[in-house]
């Protein structure tokens, strides 16, 4: 059982969820309320990771992070090493890969907030920011929790992008899914099984939370 890979994956998933919370909420706000005519193009770009093979996505991320790209060169000048095959590179790749899983539930939740409440808030003198934090966000909480949980769970289980961008470096880019692949390659089915079961349970637990927060009424608490 590779605990190191396990903690690395948890750390990665946690950071991805937090980062997508920070950059995903403004993107979702824009998607939900913008009337720009070309908005659908942005929506399509954000949704791409859902349909692209992870290897294709991973390939482009690798190229973009490599020492020949402007981003790669800038990072190399800053830190002295390339982004590819590092934890930071893996983080960036995972964020892009999980972006639609965070942004789509956020945007759907924002769009379902009654626009009359937003109008009422404005007539009461509230700024857009105040309206967002006091009205839109609280009323979208199930959607926000869903987006965060899905991006966490999705990062836990990713394989293709990690393989392309991160490689298989212990304590830097070796995640649980890569570890399982390695165990199977080495015919160590017992370890593969142990790790897989833990990943399965964790994913199940997270998805249960997602469906629980999105449930409108709780039949078992009906007497309340």
């Amino acid at each position: 059982m590779d605990w190191q890979a396990f903690w690395l994956t948890l750390r990665l998933a946690m950071l991805v969820a937090i980062a997508l919370g920070v950059i995903g909420l403004p993107i979702a706000y824009w998607l939900a309320y913008s009337r720009w005519r070309w908005k659908f193009l942005v929506e399509a770009v954000i949704a791409l990771p859902i349909v692209l093979p992870p290897t294709v996505l991973g390939f482009y991320v690798l190229v973009a992070l490599g020492s020949r790209s402007p981003l790669g060169r800038w990072w190399q000048g800053l830190t002295g090493h390339t982004l590819a095959f590092t934890f930071e590179g893996l983080l960036i790749g995972s964020m892009i890969y999980s972006l639609p899983f965070a942004v789509q539930p956020f945007a759907a939740a924002f769009a379902s907030v009654d626009t009359r409440l937003i109008s009422a808030s404005a007539t009461l003198g509230a700024s857009r920011l105040r309206t967002f934090f006091r009205v839109i966000l609280p009323l979208s909480l199930p959607g926000v929790v869903t987006g965060l949980a899905l991006s966490f769970a999705h990062t836990m289980g990713e394989f293709g992008v990690v393989l392309m961008v991160g490689g298989n470096i212990p304590n830097a880019t070796r995640t649980v899914s890569i570890a399982i692949y390695d165990y199977v390659q080495a015919f160590d089915f017992a370890s593969a099984n142990q790790t897989a079961v833990i990943l399965l349970m964790l994913s199940f637990g997270l998805l249960s939370i997602v469906y629980a927060v999105n449930r409108k009424t709780w039949a078992i608490w009906s007497w309340k």
Binding site: A120, G125, R130
Partner: protein, 386 residues
């Protein structure tokens, strides 16, 4: 600044510089928009002084769009909107103050209370400035004056419609708006609850004295409020005055208006009682006289009167001591049951239709051929131009 000067001049010219004019809403806008019935143009100009001004019109007359333009939620194509001498919108000077900074109180049609906040949190929402103590004091005073202190900790879904209405009004008024817009705010309430809330609103406005635009499509509400009313139709103001003048002018008879009246008669105006707000009309066919509400008409004018069958009372002996002025003897022609009502036809020289309940028929032992008396209140007679 320019507007303020102009107002000053106007006030000086007219000789009285009253506080009312200073706080007034002045508006002249043109707004084109697409509605379900196609392209629609709102073309409106009026001034509203402090106190209630009613905007009356059928749905689709442009009432809500007008309010949205004043609040800043919609942008007119051209025109000016000025409240208390402050310009909110002027297309020529490229002024369009954002919603947040207009300070216009707007109670939306379905109230739009924040469902995740308690009544108190809702009311405090618009109080962004001031210390916590000051905000608490103001919201407490508001809860007190709208008699909702006991609802403080409850969420909107846990309180009744009338209480929600009070919370919505309190939430808006606590911000000390320079103008209050009410979009059919009391449509869902019963008359008693409605009049109590209006009374509290009037009391509040005695000290604040701001213009209040009250949108409604209910005739009963217009008469109950009894203030100046602007009649809106197809995006334009077609009449302006007190309800009595505006609402009771004989209207062009349309199919839609006739649908509500089972009894329609041609009449001639016999006499006008301007002091009482009534007049007497004689039915053209048989000389029967009816007392009706006063409308703008000359003696001998030909009008048409409509009476809903549900508004006519039926008595089996001559009634006495009634406030109603029209007591007409007649003879029962027929009684027919239609669903849960009895349709009675009575011969009074003309045939009149009246509706009764099953219980009323049984209690009065009504039979065809027996003498009956019909009782019609003055205001149940609706006058239309021929």
């Amino acid at each position: 600044m320019e507007v303020a000067q102009r107002n000053d001049e106007a006030a000086t010219r007219s000789g009285d510089f009253s506080a009312e004019d200073v706080r007034a809403l002045e508006l002249r806008i043109l707004k084109r928009f697409a509605s379900r019935e196609g392209q629609f143009t709102l073309d409106i100009a009026f001034t509203a002084k402090p106190g209630i001004t009613i905007l009356f019109g059928a749905s689709g007359a442009g009432k809500t769009t007008l309010l949205n333009c004043i609040a800043g939620l919609a942008v007119p194509n051209s025109g000016q909107i000025t409240v208390a001498r402050q310009t909110f919108f002027d297309d020529q000077r490229r002024i369009n103050v954002p919603v947040q900074r207009r300070g216009v109180g707007y109670v939306l049609q379905d109230l739009a209370l924040f469902p995740h906040m308690t009544a108190e949190e809702n009311i405090c929402y618009g109080l962004a400035s001031g210390t916590a103590v000051e905000r608490k004091r103001r919201s407490d005073a508001m809860l007190e004056s709208f008699r909702i202190s006991h609802l403080r900790t409850r969420k909107p879904r846990e309180i009744s419609g009338g209480e929600r209405q009070r919370v919505a009004l309190a939430r808006t008024l606590v911000t000390n708006p320079c103008l209050l817009l009410l979009d059919e705010p009391l449509a869902a309430l019963d008359a008693a609850t409605k009049s109590k809330i209006i009374e509290d609103l009037r009391v509040w406005n005695e000290t604040h004295s701001i213009p209040i635009l009250y949108v409604t499509h209910s005739r009963a509400e217009v008469f109950a409020l009894g203030e100046r009313v602007l009649l809106l139709d197809k995006g334009q103001v077609i009449a302006d005055g007190v309800p009595h003048e505006v609402m009771t002018a004989p209207r062009q008879e349309t199919v839609a208006q006739l649908v509500g009246f089972e009894n329609i008669f041609d009449v001639t105006v016999v006499s006008l009682r301007e002091d009482r707000g009534t007049m007497t009309c004689r039915l053209t066919n048989n000389g029967l006289e009816l007392e009706t509400p006063l409308v703008k008409a000359e003696i001998n004018a030909k009008l048409r009167v409509g009476i809903a069958a549900g508004d006519i009372l039926l008595a089996s002996s001559r009634p006495t001591g009634l406030s109603a002025q029209n007591i007409i003897p007649g003879k029962m022609i027929s009684l027919a049951q239609r669903d849960m009502i009895i349709v009675a036809k009575v011969d009074c020289g003309v045939e009149m239709e009246t509706h009764l309940t099953l219980a009323a028929r049984d209690a009065l032992h009504l039979q065809p051929g027996q003498p009956v008396w019909l009782v019609i209140k003055t205001h149940s007679c609706h006058l239309m131009s021929v």
